[in-house]
Symmetry: C2
Subunit: 538 residues, 2 copies
């Protein structure tokens, strides 16, 4: 018995970029062979199409392109075997992995477990496979699995029963703040119940509202985690499998910084902004900088993602804007070295009010006038985005999105919302952590009471419960699917709970028109939480 060496390609394979993905697979295979001396390389799930390709999978020309790339790739993979993910069309479409070896496609495995919950719609696109696949390489029998296969017991058990000494799982498993722990628990269980080691390789990168975190893993057959790859970084990982002990060993994997969950989440937010902007070919970003914590954190993320020279911040004051806001916004922009503009909106606001005066005669000021300020800012920022080609970031957080404390076509303007899935209390946590590194976020911004500054001496708590209470209720209601009665029974104020839940329901229309943003919780607004706008249920 000897050992055999293989490589896990923890890389980004962008959605739709079939040809570029095939080229990247070829390059990485060459590198794994030459530099790592690997005899096998495994790429993430749906390597060639990217994940999730969504309804591109319903275009015959897209499926054909994936098939062509696979066929052209096979003879170009030389001196190494490669496991490549791709959609496979045989009358119906399968989520597949093929082994390219000896210049040809040796076999194609079809994913057996298709997730059709939370963010996944795989039963919309794929037919489930019905057979395991165990293949031999360097005298070792390897069981092939794709992502969801490992979340059910049967596929691993069947592969083990068919003699697999090692399970190889290729994945496109999205990040959320609890996912790494869940994955480890699951993999430990599958390893021990089948007495088999597992090599788990995951995609990296931002794709619309999903983040893929990498975090590839090696698990011994006794359930011990032998190695963890860093999150949100692309890397080629070498692994050695020892046939005698049926154990895995990581070769020169970098250290990971797992102690602090802030590190991982922040890295995900940065990656999300970077990938959304770059994959959509924007030259940079701009955002409204208000002197509040949301835009301050968004600015820090943008600079970390793109560099200061690709970021523009715009302060758009009114009579309600405090000196503190003006001062701190400017201070942060200067500290970070970004382009900074001050565009007062009083004239614009007055021209709206003047134009509307004939139709608003006799009606008292209300939320309308507050929204006019927010929308004047939105129009200015969109004009700057149009003129400069920089993408507008929206700065809203999950607490606001939940209860509708945001103006549609106002501060909700923007192509991407980095904080969309962060509750306000998490915005504070992450901001404190980020500020602690190098003062990228001013201390005064973190410590001031939150305010939209749309009227005199306004604070968020005029309209909303304190954020720690609000967020606790929201998390129970949204992530926990708890009812009002459940939440009240847990000790929260009856009237507050009912008011918050009502706000969540009636603001579905705003969320439906909101920008995408990176998912970091176990239930994000968007594809993961599909609620009717029109609903009699309260």
């Amino acid at each position: 018995m000897t050992s055999f060496r293989f490589a896990l390609a923890q890389f980004d394979f962008p959605v739709g970029a079939t040809h570029a993905n095939a080229l990247r697979a070829k390059e990485l295979a060459d590198k794994a062979r030459d530099q790592l001396k690997a005899s096998l390389i495994a790429f993430p799930e749906l390597t060639l199409s990217g994940y999730p390709p969504e309804d591109l999978l319903q275009r015959p020309s897209f499926l054909e392109a994936c098939a062509v790339e696979l066929s052209s790739l096979a003879p170009r993979i030389e001196g190494i075997a490669a496991v490549v993910g791709h959609p496979d069309t045989r009358g119906e479409v399968f989520n597949a992995a093929s082994l390219l070896r000896g210049g040809a496609v040796e076999w194609t495995y079809h994913k057996q477990a298709l997730p059709n919950y939370t963010v996944f719609d795989e039963k919309r696109y794929f037919r489930a496979g019905e057979h395991s696949r165990v293949f031999e390489i360097e005298g070792v029998r390897v069981g092939m699995l794709i992502c969801e296969d490992i979340w059910e017991a049967e596929p691993a058990a069947h592969a083990a029963a068919a003699g697999a000494e090692l399970l190889l799982v290729i994945n496109a498993s999205p990040y959320d703040s609890r996912q790494a722990a869940t994955r480890e628990r699951l993999l430990r269980q599958r390893a021990t119940e089948n007495d088999v080691a597992i090599a788990y390789v995951n995609l990296v990168g931002g794709q619309d509202d999903l983040l893929f975190d990498g975090g590839s893993l090696l698990v011994q057959r006794n359930g011990h985690i032998a190695a963890r790859a860093p999150s949100f970084e692309e890397m080629l990982l070498a692994v050695e499998f020892d046939s005698a002990s049926r154990s895995l060993k990581a070769i020169d994997w970098p250290e990971t910084d797992e102690g602090d969950p802030h590190v991982v989440m922040y890295a995900g937010l940065v990656r999300g902004v970077h990938d959304y902007v770059c994959k959509n070919h924007f030259s940079g970003v701009l955002l409204g900088l208000s002197g509040g914590i949301d835009s301050a954190l968004t600015l820090a993320i943008a600079v970390d993602a793109l560099g200061a020279d690709r970021v523009t911040a715009v302060m758009m004051p009114t009579r309600y804007t405090s000196d503190l806001s003006l001062h701190e916004a400017k201070a942060q922009a200067e500290h970070l070295g970004v382009e900074y503009h001050v565009l007062p909106i009083e004239n614009i606001y007055e021209s709206f009010v003047g134009t509307l005066a004939p139709v608003f005669e006799g009606r008292a000021p209300d939320i309308t006038e507050e929204n006019l300020q927010s929308r004047s800012r939105g129009v200015l920022l969109m004009a700057m985005s149009n003129k400069t080609g920089r993408l507008l970031l929206s700065t809203g957080n999950k607490s606001e999105m939940a209860v509708g404390y945001a103006t549609l076509y106002g501060d909700m303007c923007g192509a991407y919302a980095p904080l969309k899935d962060l509750y306000k209390t998490v915005v504070y946590d992450i901001s404190r952590w980020r500020a602690g590194i190098d003062g990228a976020i001013p201390k005064a911004v973190i410590e001031r009471p939150p305010s939209a500054e749309l009227r005199h001496e306004q604070t968020d708590q005029d309209s909303l419960p304190p954020y720690d209470e609000l967020d606790a209720i929201l998390e129970r209601f949204i992530e926990g699917e708890q009812s009002a009665e459940d939440i009240i029974a847990a000790g929260y104020d009856d009237a507050t709970v009912r008011r918050v839940i009502r706000m969540v329901f009636v603001n579905e229309f705003k969320r439906r028109q909101s920008a995408p943003g990176p998912r970091v919780t176990t239930k994000a607004f968007g594809r993961e939480r599909r609620y009717p706008i029109t609903s009699g249920w309260r």
Copy 2:
């Protein structure tokens, strides 16, 4: 052998309104018993929850409420049996129909075929049933089916094999312009292949981006369509089944107006606006009236849906607005008798341009300035919506949505977009047809060349191919999933086809933030067509 009489309840059962839906079922059962002398009444699919309840089905409290309504309803259904649709929770959740008879739930059938394509996500929510259900009433054996069950061959065949003399299908089948013909073809096939008559009852009403058209059907066992109920109208339909001949007879069904597809589509658009506005508790609507055909048709639909006194039209001219636009907008508003305002936007536009001058210095005017006009209008309309509580209708059509010929946060502002799924050529067809009835749309508006009037002497054809060519390409690309090569091979200009397809791909980000609107084609933007924004595929 005798005959037996039953009723089909072609009605709206709004999503989430569990208690109101149970009350309505009780009232209709009483009416069917007393006025129609029916011994059975059948309600549409998921009667109690409404369809589609989407992720409300993941709330335990919602499922519990449906169960409670079913239990409370059973003893209140007296002197008649009732087939009621509802989610049924037994560890997992099923899409179910129960027979309420003799004061109790006699049995519960679980839908066997779960659609998970186009607009449907039923495998996200439901587990499939595995058994047919044939029940006896008045000596007749009736096979129970739910919607998708009839789209597959097995469930009907199993029910027939179990002795069903009649198939009863309860449905929530969404409208599109081809669906009625498809349904009839399918029902004829199932009837003849099983030699069994079919009674098909369908939901009515608008639910976010879906329209349910009713159009209930009776099909003889030889495949002959015995009766068609009108589309988009609520009604209680009496049916007699003759045991000797195993044939169905409609009792006093109203005449239907099937000759002209415009009638049905227009009725759907009117129903869509009515239901969206009323179910979401708005007092009325407002819209920007430009003098162009899209807003003119939208205004006519709004008035037909809600009455003139619940509709406000606003003309917002600039120097680029033609006299024709000013004249025709006013003429239409007066003809229809709606509240009408003229709010020039020159001052607002100038205040934006002035504020932006320092940052735009040295840059030539471009699309930015056109968008500023559109966004100034959007902000004005949203202010009027906020102040008056009237819902803003967006007036864009499918051709514009497809190629991005619309301003995000500008003319795309609005809670509901009645023409969202109508190609521009269909907007013309329907407008001509509607104008022909009573001149609700001015002839000059229909005949003028289309223009956004955002710069001097602009027409749509400065930027776009002629609409008949554009729409033909779009329909092949979107509904037909054809590739550029396919479309070019069909005789369209190479460069035009590639340009149009590119525009469709790169404008996904706009569509993602667009208002919902009623689906009328076989592939509508939104839940039916799920494309990545970020994509390397062109």
